[in-house]
C-alpha cells in the first residue's frame, strides 16, 4: 500500500484493520508553495487533522561543512552568505567571531560599530520579510509581502553600496570589516532608521488587529517553556514563550553591552506572539541603530595587524555564537595549525528550531501546520547547509 520508504519509516505501527489504515498520507513538499523552499513534511491526516508529522530535509544539502574543511579560513567566508540567504551579514559576523576567538584577534572600535549597524539592519530585513511571508502563508496573496519587501529593498540599497551585492552581501573579515563605510552612507542609514518607525506603525495597524489573523494565529502552535528549552529552541520563538534568552544580553559579544535596549518577552508563545515579538524586536533594533549611528567613532575598519593571506590560527578550538535574527547562530572550529580548519561546524538556528515541529503540529489542522512552519521562520539554505 505504501511504496515510499520514508513514509514507512514515519509510521512504525501499521496493523491491518487499525485506524492507521484510514489515515491519509500526504507529502507536503518538497515542491509545495509554502514550505519556504525544498522542505518536506510527511503528514498523516485524519480528515484534516494532523496525526503524525515527519520533517524530511536535505534537499538543499551543499556539503558546506565538509567543503570548508578543505579550504582556507577566509575562503569559507563567502559561503557563509549562502547559509541564511535572507540575512548574510549576521552569518559573516558569527563566523568571523568564531575565528577571532580561535586566533585571538582584536577588533577595532569602528569595525565593531559597523558590525552592529549592519547586523541590526539585517535583523530588520529578516523580521520585516518574516511578517510578509507569514501573511503569505496565511493566504493574504502577497499584499503584506510586497509592503515588507519595499522596505527591504531600501536596506538592500544600503547593503549594495556597502558591499557591492544586494543579496549575498559579504562584508566581515577576521579582525574587522572589508572596507570602510562609503561617503554619506551613515546619513542615508540614519534617514532610513528614522523612516522605519512609521512603516512599522503602518504594518502593525494593518496586520495585528486583523480579526482573521488573530483567529488564525492565537493559541496555535504553543508549547510549554520547558519543552522549548529542552529542544534547544532559541531566538524570537523562545522569547515569545517568555524565556529571557538573548545572546546579546546573556553572553554579550562585540560591543552590545554598551547599548541600551530591552528584550521583549511574550507570554503564551503561540504564532501570534511570535509575530508580535518580532515587531517589538524591530523597534529595539531601531533603538540600537540610533545609538550606534550617533556614537560611531573614526578609526580603523580592520585590525591593522590582521593577516589576510597565509592566515594560520594556533592549534585549538573555539565556539563563536551570536544572536542571529532567527536565534543562536554558532560556528564551532577546530584548528590543527594548518591554513584549513580541521573541523568546521555550524549551529544553525533554523534547523534546531525545526526539531519541535511535530510536537507543535499534532492535533491541529493542515492549515495550521503551514502557519506554524511559517512562524518558526526557517531558511532552507541554513537548515540543509
Amino acid at each position: 500500500m505504501i511504496s515510499d520508504p520514508l513514509l514507512q519509516q514515519s509510521s512504525p505501527v501499521l496493523e491491518e484493520g487499525s485506524d492507521d489504515d484510514q489515515l491519509l498520507r500526504v507529502s507536503l513538499g518538497p515542491q509545495h508553495p509554502s514550505t519556504h523552499g525544498v522542505f518536506r513534511m510527511n503528514v498523516e491526516l485524519d480528515g484534516e487533522t494532523v496525526v503524525r508529522l515527519k520533517p524530511v530535509f536535505g534537499y538543499l544539502h551543499r556539503n558546506h561543512e565538509k567543503i570548508a574543511e578543505g579550504q582556507t579560513y577566509l575562503s569559507s567566508m563567502p559561503f557563509t552568505d549562502r547559509l541564511d540567504y535572507i540575512c548574510p551579514l549576521t552569518n559573516n559576523w558569527a563566523y568571523a567571531h568564531a575565528v577571532e576567538k580561535l586566533a585571538g584577534i582584536e577588533v577595532p572600535e569602528r569595525a565593531e560599530y559597523m558590525r552592529v549597524i549592519t547586523a541590526e539592519l539585517t535583523r530588520l530585513i529578516n523580521h520585516t520579510a518574516f511578517a510578509g511571508f507569514f501573511l503569505g502563508d496565511m493566504g493574504a496573496w502577497g499584499s503584506a509581502l510586497m509592503y515588507a519587501f519595499r522596505e527591504r529593498e531600501k536596506i538592500l540599497d544600503l547593503f549594495e553600496d556597502l558591499t557591492g551585492a544586494r543579496m549575498m552581501s559579504n562584508f566581515m573579515r577576521f579582525g574587522g570589516c572589508r572596507n570602510d563605510l562609503p561617503d554619506g552612507w551613515l546619513e542615508r542609514c540614519r534617514a532610513l532608521v528614522d523612516n522605519y518607525e512609521p512603516f512599522l506603525d503602518e504594518m502593525e495597524m494593518f496586520l495585528l488587529g486583523n480579526e482573521i489573523l488573530i483567529a488564525r494565529t492565537q493559541d496555535v502552535g504553543q508549547l510549554p517553556k520547558e519543552t522549548l528549552i529542552n529542544g534547544g529552541i532559541t531566538g524570537p520563538m523562545l522569547r515569545a514563550a517568555g524565556v529571557a534568552y538573548d545572546i546579546r544580553k546573556v553572553d554579550p559579544y562585540g560591543i552590545y553591552d554598551r547599548f541600551d535596549f530591552k528584550m521583549p518577552l511574550g507570554e503564551k508563545g503561540d504564532c501570534y506572539d511570535r509575530l508580535m515579538i518580532r515587531f517589538l524586536e524591530m523597534r529595539e533594533s531601531l533603538k540600537i541603530l540610533k545609538q550606534a549611528i550617533k556614537d560611531i567613532p573614526e578609526g580603523d575598519f580592520i585590525a591593522p595587524k590582521a593577516k589576510i593571506r597565509g592566515f594560520k590560527p594556533p592549534v585549538g578550538e573555539a565556539y563563536g555564537r551570536i544572536e542571529g535574527p532567527k536565534g543562536e547562530l554558532g560556528f564551532y572550529l577546530v584548528s590543527d595549525g594548518t591554513p584549513q580548519p580541521y573541523r568546521y561546524r555550524v549551529r544553525p538556528p533554523s534547523f534546531v528550531n525545526l526539531t519541535l515541529l511535530e510536537e507543535m503540529c499534532v492535533g491541529l489542522d493542515i492549515a495550521d501546520v503551514v502557519i506554524i512552519l511559517g512562524s518558526v521562520d526557517i531558511v532552507l539554505g541554513e537548515v540543509d547547509r
Binding site: 493574504a140 483567529a215 488564525r216 528584550m263 492549515a367 503551514v370
Partner: protein, 411 residues
C-alpha cells in the same frame, strides 16, 4: 421601415435596445429569407445565448487583466504591462499560453471524469447567466421560476468541483474537494435563505419581476432597492458574504487554498482544462454578483431619477463592475480563514441572521401595508440590529479568546 417583405423597426437601434440588437437582426434576416416562424424564434434563441456567452467571455478576459492590475496596485506594483498597451493584450497571451500547454492526465486519474470536471464547472455558470435580467426588457430566458433555476444549476458547480477533485486520483485535489463540498453546502443555506426574504417581499420567483418590484423612489431620490430596507440590508450582507464563499473567493478560498493544499481540486490540471476552471470561476462570479444585484441592488434600475435617461443595461453593468471590484478589494486585503472557523461562521452567524431576516421582512411587509413607514422602521430595526450585535460579539469571543496581549521587556 420595410426592408424586403419584413418590418425593420428603427426602435431596435435605440441604446436601450442594444443588447437585443443581434437577436433582432438575426430574426429579421432569417425572416427575410422566408423561413418558417419556428425557425425564426430558434435562431433568435441561439443569438441570444451567443450574446450572453460572447459578452461574458469578453468580460472574463477583461476581468482577468483587471484583477491582476487591481491586485498589483493594492500591492504597490504595476501588474502586467508588457503585452500591448497597459497590458491590454495580456489575456490573449494567457490564452495562447494555456492553449499550447501540454494537457497532462495523471496515470491514476479517471480520464473521463477528469475531462468532465472542468466542463461541468463552466456549463452551469453559463446556464445561470441566462436567466438574469440585464436590461428593462432583456432577459435571455425569461423563466417564471428564474431564481429556482439559478440555484439549481448553481448547485451543479459543487458536483463539478468534487468530480474534478476525486477524478484526479491525487491527495491534494481530494482534500480540496472535501473542503469544497463542506463549504459550499454550508454556504448555500444562508445564500438561499437570504434570497428567500426577497422572494417573500416581492411575491415572485421570476427575476425580472423582482427587479420591477424595486422600482420607484422614496422621497423622490432614495431608490426603493431591497438593500435600503432593514431586512434587505441584513439579508443583503449575509447574501454577499455567502457569495464570496460560493464563488471560492478570498478569504473563503479554502478549496484551492494555495498555501495549504497547493491548488486544491485544480492541482492535477494543466493547459486548457486549467483555463476552463478559471473561466468557470469567473463566470460563476459574474453570475452570483448579477443575482445579488438583481435581488438587492435593484437590477437595472438607475440609482437616481435624473439618470433614468441612460439605458438600463448600462446601470446593470455599472453595478456589476462595482460589486466585482469589491470582490477584488477583499481578495487583496484579507488572509484566509481556517475550515472550522469557516463552518462555525456559517452555522452560528450567517444562518441565524438569514433566518431572522424572514420574520423581519414579514413585519416590514405588514407595517408597510398599513402605510406606516415609521412604525415599520421602529419595529424592524431592533430585529436587525440586535442579532447582528449579539452574534458578532458572541462570534468574536469564540473566534479569538484574547485579542489584547501584554508584553513585558527584560533588561
Amino acid at each position: 421601415m420595410m426592408l424586403g417583405n419584413v418590418e425593420f423597426e428603427m426602435a431596435w437601434l435605440a441604446p436601450e435596445q442594444w443588447p437585443r440588437l443581434p437577436q433582432h437582426l438575426v430574426e429579421w434576416l432569417v425572416a427575410l429569407c422566408g423561413l418558417p416562424e419556428w425557425l425564426v424564434s430558434i435562431a433568435g434563441w441561439f443569438t441570444s445565448a451567443g450574446v450572453v456567452v460572447g459578452v461574458f467571455m469578453g468580460l472574463f478576459a477583461l476581468l482577468s487583466l483587471i484583477e491582476r492590475k487591481t491586485l498589483a496596485r493594492v500591492q504597490n506594483r504595476y501588474g502586467p504591462n508588457r503585452a500591448g498597451w497597459f497590458g491590454i493584450l495580456q489575456p490573449v497571451a494567457d490564452g495562447i499560453k494555456m492553449l499550447t500547454k501540454e494537457d497532462i492526465v495523471p496515470a491514476k486519474a479517471d480520464w473521463l471524469l477528469h475531462l468532465l470536471g472542468p466542463v461541468l464547472i463552466v456549463i452551469p455558470s453559463i446556464l445561470a447567466l441566462g436567466v438574469i435580467p440585464y436590461g428593462q426588457d432583456w432577459v435571455p430566458v425569461p423563466l417564471e421560476l428564474g431564481l429556482v433555476f439559478f440555484f439549481a444549476v448553481g448547485a451543479m458547480t459543487e458536483i463539478a468541483v468534487f468530480v474534478a477533485g476525486w477524478a484526479s486520483g491525487s491527495k491534494f485535489p481530494m482534500l480540496g474537494a472535501m473542503r469544497a463540498i463542506s463549504q459550499m453546502v454550508s454556504y448555500e443555506l444562508p445564500l438561499i435563505i437570504s434570497a428567500l426574504a426577497v422572494v417573500m417581499m416581492s411575491g415572485t420567483l421570476s427575476l425580472p419581476e423582482i427587479v420591477e418590484s424595486q422600482g420607484g423612489y422614496t422621497l423622490g431620490f432614495l431608490p426603493q432597492w431591497n438593500l435600503f430596507t432593514p431586512w434587505g440590508l441584513s439579508a443583503g450582507v449575509v447574501f454577499f458574504i455567502a457569495c464570496i464563499a460560493e464563488a471560492n473567493r478570498c478569504p473563503f478560498d479554502l478549496p484551492e487554498g494555495e498555501s495549504e493544499i497547493v491548488a486544491g481540486h485544480m492541482t492535477e490540471y494543466s493547459g486548457f482544462k486549467y483555463a476552463l476552471f478559471f473561466i468557470g470561476e469567473y463566470l460563476g462570479l459574474f453570475a452570483i454578483s448579477a443575482l445579488g444585484i438583481t435581488l438587492f441592488l435593484g437590477g437595472w434600475q438607475s440609482p437616481l431619477p435624473i439618470f433614468d435617461f441612460l439605458p438600463s443595461w448600462l446601470w446593470f453593468f455599472a453595478k456589476l463592475a462595482v460589486v466585482i471590484f469589491i470582490f477584488l478589494w477583499i481578495r487583496a486585503t484579507f488572509p484566509r480563514v481556517r475550515i472550522d472557523q469557516l463552518m462555525r461562521f456559517a452555522w452560528l452567524c450567517l444562518i441565524p441572521i438569514a433566518l431572522l431576516s424572514l420574520p423581519t421582512a414579514a413585519i416590514w411587509h405588514y407595517a408597510n401595508k398599513a402605510n406606516n413607514d415609521i412604525v415599520a422602521w421602529i419595529a424592524t430595526m431592533p430585529l436587525v440590529l440586535i442579532p447582528w450585535v449579539v452574534l458578532t460579539v458572541l462570534f468574536n469571543r469564540r473566534l479569538s479568546p484574547a485579542t489584547t496581549r501584554t508584553y513585558h521587556f527584560a533588561e
